[in-house]
Every structure is written in structure tokens, then in C-alpha cells.
Amino acid sequence: MQYRLLSSGGEVRLVDDEWVNAAITIALQTELETGDNYALEKLVSSEQVLLIEFQSVADGRGFSSAAELRENDGYKGLLYACGRLNPDQLTLAFQCGFDGMVVDEQGWVSYGEAAWQQALKPVVDSGYAQTRWNAIDSIWMLRGAAVR
């Protein structure tokens, strides 16, 4: 299988099963007691690529998992989304700390290249009150700067 690896810089690269298999896919747990199997000590220092899978467009767990991995666990390596995200959600994924997304053939075709390319364009508008890993200033920062 071929996949497209979309990165926040706007780059689209073809990758194959081998690349995907070499990455570590984090299995999100639904129970708080069990937690996610991050095996963190290993990951934080790792050179490896991490994948977080979105099981449906309505399943927003991955956004928080990414944010937690970056913010709470200090993960600095590469982090990609995969699974059933749509182009509109790709923007959110960047804001939550993903470097990009792995899109399979079906997802690529069903939303169409144009929609994905559009989603990769640097976000021009602000994240409103949010500032995240896409380094856009929040409106609160902008207002603070205006006062100074």
C-alpha cells in the first residue's frame, strides 16, 4: 500500500507499508485505569516516528493524546496522525502538536487532492485564543503586544 505523508511545511511525500510499520502506532485506550501504552521512557528519547490513529472523524481522542504527549510528556520527536481524519481536521491536528498526517489512498481520493492541499496551506488566520505548536500568536498575546 502507498500512503501520502502530509507535513506541516506543505510537503507531500509517498511512503509505503514498510515506513508505516517501522513507526510506532499508539493504541489509545478507552479506560482511564489502563492508560495508553506510551512506554514513555523509551519514546521520549527515541528517534522513532510515532503515529496516533483516529478511528472515525468524530473520534477526537487523538487531538488530546497528541497535546498530552507534547505538553505533559515532553515528546520532541516526529508525530503523525493517521486514520479517518478529514482535511478540515488536519488544521486542528497541527495546532495540537502533530507534524502532519499519513493519508491512505482511500482518504486521498475521497476528499480529493485539492482539499488536502488547501488544508496544508499555512493557516493565515489566528487560532483565536489558542496558541499551539503551529506557533500562531493567540489573540490574547496580540492584544498584550498591542498594549505594550
Binding site: 487531538f63 488530546s64 498530552e68 510528556d73 495546532q95 495540537c96 485564543a129 489573540i139 490574547w140 496580540l142
Partner: protein, 572 residues
């Protein structure tokens, strides 16, 4: 009133442009209904029983007269001349055409309004005390924080696809008029020893199929820690809230399944590692927000002067030429002063609640003409400001005591002076099966019948505050679980059937009402409510409220009154 700056304005403008493109893609067939549905829902556009329905947010229930006029204009131009104020401080338009909705959103954006996050599994419009900033008993004005939370939650990238919708309510008063204990998160603002604001976080309240009263989750959170703490809470909920069953997806179920201590521990851990600098400069922003709530310039009245509302007798003189206190106008005006006028924190001022519960009307509905009249009265007498309440009424928040008689006359001329605030006929009713696609029974006609049935009694007896709420399905939009008398409409074999719960309340001592027994037919409800009220009037001691009496004497007497003699057979 909060005034948008360029950033706020840009957001609503962009959002409305984006929706225009989405609608045009839908109309030209570029996207299917399945693809379009989540997009329209993100902009508050539902497809209901008869037509599309647009739900517009009224953030924390505050409206300017200009905004109210625009809502009237939208109702006339794009709808059928009326709108429905909901229990979540929103307004719903019942008949907009899809082709017109981009124009409606433009109209809204032009007066700093929008429909963002009025639907979908995200943080919904944040509600608060309708008397915020003016209530005599208020400790902290919740509006600046409510606006801060609106900004924080709007388009939050992490929380757009939660397990389920998420509702916040805020109060800054010990007397909770915002029902914070039946929201996913309720915030109680207090003023701390050094004058700094502290927040108690109540979590896991809710209605619907599994009603729950919130638990105290964390006490005395400082303003600087509040946003990171809420973000940590939402993050834990987003990751572990159930997604396998939509009836178990609210945070109240996570709390029940995991337990308070464990959920607190998890949130604390996430909170401890959150980068607090992301929320900077929150204190500066909060004081900026505070300054953008343009405060009305009250007419300073010396403490030793005590301007009173015009005496009913004088009013009778000016209207009828006689000073007969028994003249109907004097009597009506007096009742209205008693029921609809509340104490203001500013000396010489009063809060006026305008009832949208005319006996023959639809609870929460207002026509375009009425909306314009609200706006005009607000311009003349209330510093151009209005509020909408979660009890589906409208508030004139800054009325001079000495203007009360004039305000009453204006309202009375417009048939808007129904003097029943918090009385049994001030019924909260959801749209039910007359409008709502999810309904299992009608609510409005039943509410009308109850109101007609009990109005006379409530005028001649001193029944006092007593809440009657009716929902058209288990989603409980009318908060029937926490009404003194709650009514839930169900479908039993194709016939509307109504279940009664008693003893609920939504204030600081919130309780879930108890279910009585088998459901009743629509025609049996109003007489049953009447008999329930009789039991209360008969058994209450001194100033006992309905729920006090209910707690003291228990279910039996009330149940007997509902089912009469066949009750024994039914419960055997």
C-alpha cells in the same frame, strides 16, 4: 455589554464567509448531505420537524437593544416573524431557508453575534446568572470570566470532537440562578480574602436520561490556574469519556464510573504538567475584558434619598382619574411589582423581568414586534441592555425605581406585563413535538393548558415560587428533573403520555425530582398539577417552599392526589 475588538470581529466574519462557501458547495451538489451535515451543525443549523432551525448564541444571555432589533429584523425578513428563547440562553429561528442562512450569519456578524458552537460535541454557549453584574446578592460579576471562557473555548482545536456536548454555567452569587449543579461543569465565583477571585469547580451534573447533581471537584482555584485546570479536565474527558454509547458519553458517567478521587488525581496530574504560559497573559486579558464591559452610567442617588416606584394608587389616578386601589390597573401593577421586579445592587435601581409566559402564548416565544418593543423600552429605560434567562424570560437589567410605572405601562400596552415570574404558570417548556425532530410528545399545548388551569389559583392564593417544567423527550431540554413539578412527555403505543416528577430544584441546593408513578394522558396533566399544588398549599408550614414541604412530608400525599383511589391498585 462586551464590545468586540478586531480579533473577535474577524473571527465571526471569517466564519460566516466560510459557511457561505460551504452552503454554495452543498447547493451546487459538490458535497453531499452526509458531508454537509457536520458543517451546518457547527454553525447551529439543524433540520427539524418542519424546516431548518438556526440556533444563535446569546453569550451568557446578554443582549444590546441593537442586537435585539437585529434579531427582530431576522425574524421578519428571513423567518416567520418570531423566535424562541431557549433554556440555554440561545434564540432559535424555526423557519429559515438554507439559501438564506449565509445572509443571516452576515447579519449576525454585523452586530457581534454568531451561531458558533451552538451544536455538536463541543463546548457549548456558556450560560450564567441573568442578573449578572446587577444582582443585589452578587459577590463577583461572572460576565468577564464568562467572556474569557467563551474566547478560550471558541474553536479550541483539542475540544471540537468531544465524546459528547459539554455545557458550562457560571454564577457569582450564593443564590444560584444559573443552575450550575446540573451542568457538566459549574463554576461558582467567590471573592477571596485578599479581594482576588476564587473559583469552586462543580463537575458531572447533568440532565437527560441519567440526571445527576454535580460534585465539588476542586475548591478555591485562582483565576490564573483556572484555564489550565479546565483544560486538563477537558483533556482527561476527551481521552477517556465513553464513545461507545452516546447515552453514556457525558462527563457525569465518567465521574460515576471512575470515581471522584481517581478522576481528580488524573486531572491533577495532567494539570501539573500543563504549560501554564500558553494561557498568558490571562490576568491582563481578564482586566481588559472587564474594561470592555461598558458599565452603564447610573444616575447617582444619595443614600438618604429613597426613591420608590410610583404608588399603585397614583398610577390608578393617572390612568383612570380615581385613586381607587381596587382599580384593576392598580391591582395589576402592584402584582407586577411584587413578582417581576427584583432587587438591584445600585441604589435607586431595579431589575425588571419580562415574562414570556403569557397564559395563551408559547413559553419563550417572542414576535418580531415584541422584540422591537423590548429594544425600545431598553433604550428608554435600561441603558439599552437586555438579558435572556434560562427560564426563558427577558430582563431589563437597569431600570430606575422611579421609571417602573412607565415601564409597566409600556409593557402592559404591548401585552407583555404578565405578572407571573417564578409562579407555577411561569412554565419552562421545550418546543416538543410541535417543532422538534427528537420529541416523543408535545410540550407547548400541555404547558398552555396547565397555565390556563392554575392561573386563577395562583392569583388568589399566595402559592409563591414554584417551578413547573415540561420536556418533550428524555433529553430534558426543559430541565424537568430539577423542577418542583417536572413533566416528561413520552410516547406510549402512539399516544402521548406524561410522567410526573416532584421535589426537584435547580438552585444551590439542587436535587433531582422523584418519579411518581405511571404516566398520565395529556388531558389528565393540568388537573393533576392543580391537585399537587393543592396538597402543597394545604400542608405547607409558614414560609416553606414546595421542595421543603415535599422533603418533609414525602411522596405519599402527593401521589395520592395524582392517582386518587386507583393509586393503591397501580402500586400493588
Amino acid at each position: 455589554m462586551y464590545q468586540y475588538d478586531q480579533h473577535d470581529q474577524k473571527l465571526v466574519d471569517q466564519r460566516s464567509q466560510e459557511f457561505r462557501q460551504q452552503v454554495s458547495r452543498r447547493l451546487s451538489g459538490l458535497i453531499s448531505e452526509d458531508e454537509f451535515k457536520p458543517l451546518r451543525l457547527m454553525n447551529g443549523l439543524y433540520l427539524q420537524l418542519h424546516a431548518y432551525m438556526l440556533r444563535v448564541a446569546i453569550p451568557y444571555g446578554v443582549l444590546s437593544s441593537a442586537q435585539m432589533r437585529k434579531l427582530a429584523y431576522i425574524a421578519d425578513r428571513y423567518d416567520r416573524g418570531y423566535g424562541h428563547f431557549t433554556t440555554r440562553q440561545n434564540i432559535q429561528f424555526n423557519w429559515p431557508a438554507l439559501v438564506d442562512t449565509p445572509d443571516i450569519l452576515d447579519e449576525l456578524a454585523s452586530i457581534q453575534m454568531h451561531a458558533i458552537q451552538t451544536s455538536g460535541n463541543c463546548i457549548r454557549n456558556i450560560t450564567t446568572d441573568p442578573f449578572a453584574g446587577v444582582a443585589a446578592d452578587e459577590e463577583v460579576d461572572p460576565r468577564p470570566l464568562a467572556e474569557l471562557l467563551r474566547q478560550w473555548s471558541t474553536l479550541h482545536p483539542e475540544f471540537r470532537y468531544l465524546p459528547r456536548k459539554f455545557k458550562f454555567a457560571i454564577t457569582g452569587s450564593a443564590n444560584d440562578r444559573a443552575a450550575i449543579k446540573v451542568h457538566d461543569i459549574g463554576l461558582r465565583l467567590k471573592s477571596g480574602a485578599d479581594g482576588k477571585v476564587l473559583v469552586d469547580i462543580w463537575l458531572g451534573g447533568g440532565q437527560g436520561r441519567t440526571p445527576k447533581i454535580a460534585q465539588l471537584f476542586r475548591e478555591n482555584v485562582s483565576i490564573t490556574e483556572l484555564l489550565p485546570y479546565l483544560e486538563a479536565t477537558m483533556r482527561v474527558y476527551n481521552r477517556y469519556g465513553r464513545r461507545d454509547n452516546k447515552y453514556k458519553a457525558r462527563i457525569k458517567i465518567l465521574l460515576a464510573e471512575v470515581g471522584l478521587a481517581e478522576l481528580q488525581a488524573e486531572v491533577e496530574e495532567v494539570f501539573s504538567k500543563i504549560d501554564k504560559s500558553r494561557f498568558e497573559p490571562v490576568e491582563a486579558e481578564l482586566s481588559r475584558l472587564d474594561s470592555r464591559f461598558i458599565k452603564p452610567l447610573y444616575h447617582e442617588i444619595p443614600e438618604d434619598e429613597n426613591p420608590e416606584p410610583d404608588e399603585p394608587a397614583n398610577l390608578a389616578v393617572s390612568l383612570t382619574g380615581t385613586s381607587d386601589l381596587n382599580a384593576p390597573v392598580a391591582h395589576e401593577y402592584n402584582r407586577w411589582l411584587e413578582r417581576n421586579v427584583k432587587q438591584h445592587k445600585q441604589h435607586g435601581y431595579a431589575i425588571v423581568v419580562v415574562s414570556l409566559k403569557r397564559i395563551e402564548g408559547i413559553p419563550g416565544d417572542a414576535s418580531a414586534d415584541e422584540m422591537r418593543e423590548f429594544a425600545s423600552i431598553a433604550d428608554d429605560y435600561s441603558h439599552s441592555e437586555l438579558r435572556v434567562t434560562h427560564r426563558q424570560n427577558v430582563v431589563l437589567p437597569h431600570v430606575k425605581q422611579t421609571d417602573l410605572a412607565s415601564v409597566w405601562q409600556r409593557l402592559s400596552d404591548a401585552n407583555l406585563a404578565t405578572s407571573n415570574i417564578d409562579l407555577p404558570s411561569d412554565i419552562i417548556a421545550c418546543p416538543g413535538m410541535d417543532y422538534c425532530a427528537l420529541a416523543t410528545a408535545r410540550s407547548i399545548p400541555v404547558a398552555q393548558e396547565i397555565a390556563a388551569h392554575i392561573r386563577a389559583k395562583e392569583k388568589v392564593t399566595s402559592v409563591g415560587d414554584l417551578s413547573v417544567n415540561i420536556s418533550g423527550c428524555i433529553n430534558a431540554c426543559a430541565h424537568h428533573h430539577v423542577a418542583n413539578i417536572g413533566i416528561l412527555g413520552l410516547d406510549r403505543g402512539g399516544v402521548e403520555n406524561y410522567q410526573i416528577t416532584l421535589g426537584g430544584r435547580s438552585d444551590e441546593n439542587a436535587r433531582i425530582g422523584e418519579r411518581m408513578g405511571r404516566g398520565l394522558l395529556a388531558s389528565e396533566i393540568a388537573p393533576a398539577v392543580d391537585r399537587i399544588i393543592d396538597v402543597y398549599l394545604d400542608k405547607r408550614q409558614l414560609t416553606e417552599t414546595f421542595s421543603d414541604t415535599y422533603q418533609r412530608i414525602g411522596k405519599a400525599a402527593f401521589k395520592d392526589s395524582i392517582y386518587g383511589d386507583d393509586h393503591a391498585i397501580q402500586t400493588a
